[in-house]
């Protein structure tokens, strides 16, 4: 019997991924630990290793296939002595959609599930407890629109209470989110929301010519998370101007002193942020419906632009790290981010984020908060500007920094206190060398 190689779940939340590349070809001998293929998940590309020995008999899911469900059979491994015939009986490989595939038919994704008889798929069956079913019927809630929180996603009593907008203390978070549209008829709301289909967008643009660029997993995650953030997090913005002449001088001195040391302005910004968060811990916090979580360490996520999107590797416990450490860690993370080789734990989490567009000449901007973080610092370019000092005009190198703040967690005064501490450190960089 050939061994099924399944689409692995590379993180607890992963439900599907793209089969980026097959490293082994049909007929290749495979040892345990060999890299079989690469899989593109939400944010990173990961290698899938063989767990058993054999010959790669048949590739079921072709290179380039998107949205492969976790646990779907992606290939068959032949054990010693098995012929390729055994694999030949397997279903033909699913063709990868050609890049310029004519994608005019709607609901292509929905049509796909048909040719996988073996896959575990609940299909149209709704899993709900008897009590949940009866309560849904009585409350006029359509089970199809309810997300189950019970074992294996089963719909339980609490889910119906939440969907029906019945206030129950334990279920408050869900209930609160759903409450505004809790009119019985609105239960089917998800389907009613206007979907931004390609056709609709093309029509809105006036049916002009265009090129299609597929939405990568990363693109979908960016779209989803940032839309959610802008819609659910009450942002406000605080801007401060920092003079960085001193900082640039010290940076040049430090980098000149040690061979190979290349501390960037951004490394100073990371360190100053971490120290300022330590000084103003109220700014290092996240919102939850139960309590505000004030973090005991400053894990700073730094946005890095990569091909096709961006990723936010994290400098963990940055408050305890010196400039040299931050600099070398950041260089390593940045390089691996660009190569798509970051590990999950290196870019998931964090307590605060920094986005720096200074190198692109942006004077100042405001960034979208990356939940669950309570704030994000948008850093502009350092440039010479006229400033007034002691009543006289002077020239200084100035860098504008704008803090986007989640008002549920951090109020204006706290945000200002953080920026004051940050500015103090940036303008007196010796104080952050300690």
């Amino acid at each position: 019997m050939p061994i099924d190689i399944l689409m692995p779940a590379l993180s607890p939340t992963m439900t599907e991924g793209n089969l980026a590349k097959w490293i082994k070809k049909e007929g290749d001998a495979v040892k345990a630990g060999d890299v079989l293929c690469e899989i593109e998940t939400d944010k990173a590309t990961m290698e899938v290793e063989a767990v058993e020995e054999g010959t790669l008999g048949k590739i079921i899911v072709a290179e380039g296939t998107q949205g492969v469900k976790v646990n779907e059979v992606i290939a068959l491994l032949l054990e010693e002595g098995e012929s390729a015939d055994a694999a030949a009986k397997a279903p033909a490989p699913k063709a990868a959609p050609a890049p310029e595939a004519p994608k005019t038919e709607p609901a292509k994704a929905e049509a796909a599930p048909a040719p996988k008889p073996a896959a575990v798929d609940h299909g149209d069956r709704v899993f709900a407890t008897p009590l949940a079913r009866r309560m849904a019927e009585q409350a006029g809630v359509d089970l199809a629109g309810v997300k189950g929180t019970g074992p294996n996603g089963r719909i339980v009593k609490a889910d119906i209470e939440a969907a029906a907008g019945k206030p129950k203390p334990a279920a408050a978070p869900v209930a609160a989110a759903e409450a505004p549209k809790a009119a019985p008829a609105a239960a089917a709301a998800p389907a009613a929301a206007v979907a931004l289909t390609k056709e609709r967008v093309v029509a809105l643009a006036g049916n002009i010519p265009y090129t299609e660029i597929p939405n990568t997993s990363m693109r979908k995650v960016i779209a989803k998370r940032l839309t959610e953030a802008k819609q659910t997090v009450p942002h406000f913005y605080l801007t401060v101007e920092c003079e960085i002449d001193q900082l640039l001088k010290i940076r040049a001195e430090l980098n000149g002193r040690t061979e190979g040391l290349k501390i960037s302005v951004n490394d100073f910004v990371i360190r100053a942020s971490a120290l300022a968060l330590k000084k103003v811990p109220a700014a290092n916090a996240s919102w939850s419906d139960d309590v505000i979580l004030q973090w005991s360490q400053a894990d700073i996520a730094v946005a890095v632009a990569i091909d096709g999107g961006l990723i936010t590797p994290i400098i963990k416990q940055a408050e305890g790290k010196g400039l040299a450490t931050i600099s070398s860690e950041m260089r390593d993370l940045g390089a691996r981010a660009k190569a798509g080789k970051l590990k999950l734990e290196e870019f998931q989490g964090g307590t605060f984020s920094i986005s720096n567009l200074g190198m692109f000449g942006i004077k100042e901007f405001s960034a979208v908060i990356n939940p669950p973080h309570g704030a994000i610092l948008a850093v502009g370019a350092g440039e010479q500007r006229p400033v007034v000092k002691n009543g006289a005009l002077a020239i200084a190198t100035v860098m504008s920094c704008t803090l986007s703040v989640d008002h549920r967690v951090v109020d204006g005064a706290v945000g200002a206190a953080f920026l004051k501490a940050f500015k103090g450190l940036i303008e007196d960089p010796l104080s952050m060398l300690l």
Partner: protein, 469 residues
């Protein structure tokens, strides 16, 4: 002392702690367990298990004195209390040894001593282990589960002295059988001892402050139990308090006040079973964010205390104070630590069992509590006297009561008294946990002849459909 690092440190080796440690080991954590006295905790060594051994012997004694009903005849039936106690201790020791083996099998490192939270270093919790005031080990781990349990609550003026006034521990290892006994408190522990001693022929009086025995149970069950106990010859004083105790050389005279009247009784021994207090002292809670309310640590539905990396489970936290609740909390805490999706503890799904005679078992809301929570209820009842198996067994005293939400058919609670109800209750617990309604319970086929048929009939009765009554 060199620090030893673990993924998880469990403080306390009772049914909460040792289960948590094993679950964590299953999840590939490197686990340390610190126990100061005996693996298995109170449950195994001085609680659930040895008392069940004692109660079994007392049931046998009861049966031996009622052989006539079954056509037997035996004369000069007697027992040796030392042997009865010895058997109970052997049972406890066997199981404690079993826990030791299980922990070893799961590669849990066990430390003998008392543990104390000792601050944080490098993102890890520090734990100091001491034995008899001497340091044993310094441990560190990202997470700590506190499972230090509880101890008997002392009554002012009736502090246990090990001689005349007993706590549960003394009551489990009597050197000789008292002729008369006063039990203060009619919760599960008090009533079980009352039943045990009464069945061995001791003259037992129970004093309860509340207006009924087994006050956490459904009122109807409490009333049924009281009537049954009194029929057996137990003396029950409800809405009563012990005003004063005077100790003599080998007896105690207690003044009991009930309804404005006082009575004075003289007994050989007194058992005080008026509840428990959490073991919150000496474990380093000072200076942490951990809150203690009424001698118990405050934790959320996932057993998190609010202090980073510190969870608390079992008798140390809120009620009900039951071994199986502690074990389940241990699982929730460990799986939460492991980042798994866990469900918050729902106390209405925790069964409670009392092994007196007749046995009492329940799950969920009592009829009164269901009404107080705003439910319109449908109540079903079925008596043991209507059940073939019960009659065949000669166990015709008992009642099974079910409480449903009239609108949704949700099983809100089940309350049982009678033979073997402590085993039967699990049927309702499963049903409740799966959120079945009366419809699924009615559709379920119950084997005949069994006591469990009464569980079916009780559900049918709630909807006016009982067949056999």
């Amino acid at each position: 002392m060199a620090e030893q690092n673990f993924d998880l440190i469990v403080v306390g080796g009772g049914p909460g702690g040792y289960v948590a440690a094993i679950r964590a080991a299953q999840l590939k954590m490197n686990v340390a367990l610190v126990e100061r006295e005996h693996l298995g905790g109170i449950c195994l060594n001085w609680g659930c298990i040895p008392t069940k051994a004692l109660l079994r012997t007392s049931e046998i004694n009861h049966l031996l004195h009622h052989l006539d009903a079954y056509g037997f005849k035996a004369e000069n039936v007697s027992f040796d209390i030392a042997k009865i106690v010895d058997r109970s201790r052997k049972v406890a020791n066997q199981l404690s040894g079993g826990v030791k083996h299980l922990l070893k099998k799961n590669k849990v490192t066990v430390f003998d001593g008392s543990a104390k939270l000792d601050g944080v270093a490098g993102g890890n919790r520090k734990i100091k282990v001491e034995k008899d005031g001497k340091p044993v080990a310094d441990l560190t781990a990202k997470n700590v589960i506190l499972a230090t349990g509880a101890r008997a609550r002392q009554a002012p003026g009736m502090e246990g002295d090990g001689k005349l006034i007993w706590t549960y521990k003394d009551a489990m290892v009597p050197k000789e059988l008292p002729k008369s006994l006063l039990v203060v408190g009619s919760g599960a522990i008090g009533i079980e001892f009352a039943s045990f001693y009464h069945n061995l022929g001791v003259d037992v009086t129970v004093v309860e402050m509340m207006d009924r025995v087994l006050p956490v149970e459904d009122e109807e069950i409490s009333a049924f139990a009281k009537k049954s106990f009194e029929k057996q010859g137990l003396k029950i004083r409800t809405s009563a308090t012990v005003k004063d105790v005077k100790k003599a050389a080998n007896s105690v005279t207690a003044t009991i006040e009930a309804g404005g009247k006082t009575e004075s009784i003289t007994v050989d021994r007194v058992i005080v079973a008026i509840g428990i207090v959490g073991n919150v002292e000496g474990i380093g809670l000072e200076g942490t964010k951990i809150k203690v309310e009424k001698t118990h640590v405050v934790a959320d539905g996932h057993l998190y205390t609010g202090e980073p990396g510190v969870y608390a489970i079992g008798d140390l936290v809120g009620p009900p104070w039951l071994a199986h609740k502690a074990s389940h909390e241990g699982i929730i805490a460990v799986e939460t630590i492991a980042g798994m999706k866990t469900h918050a503890m729902d106390v209405t799904n925790i069964p409670g069992c009392t092994y007196c005679m007749p046995q009492v078992a329940s799950v969920g809301l009592t009829e009164a509590k269901a009404k107080a929570a705003g439910h319109e209820v449908k109540v079903g009842r079925f008596p043991y006297i209507g059940n073939g198996k019960a009659i065949a067994m000669g166990e015709t005293e008992g009642l099974i009561k079910t409480v449903f939400d009239a609108k949704t058919g949700e099983l809100l609670g089940a309350h049982m008294i009678g033979a073997e109800v402590t085993e039967l209750i699990q049927g309702y617990v499963v049903a409740k946990n799966l959120e079945t309604t009366e419809a699924q319970l009615m559709e379920t086929i119950f084997a005949h002849p069994t006591l469990s048929e009464m569980m079916h009939e009780s559900v049918l009765d709630a909807y006016g459909r009982a067949i056999h009554f």
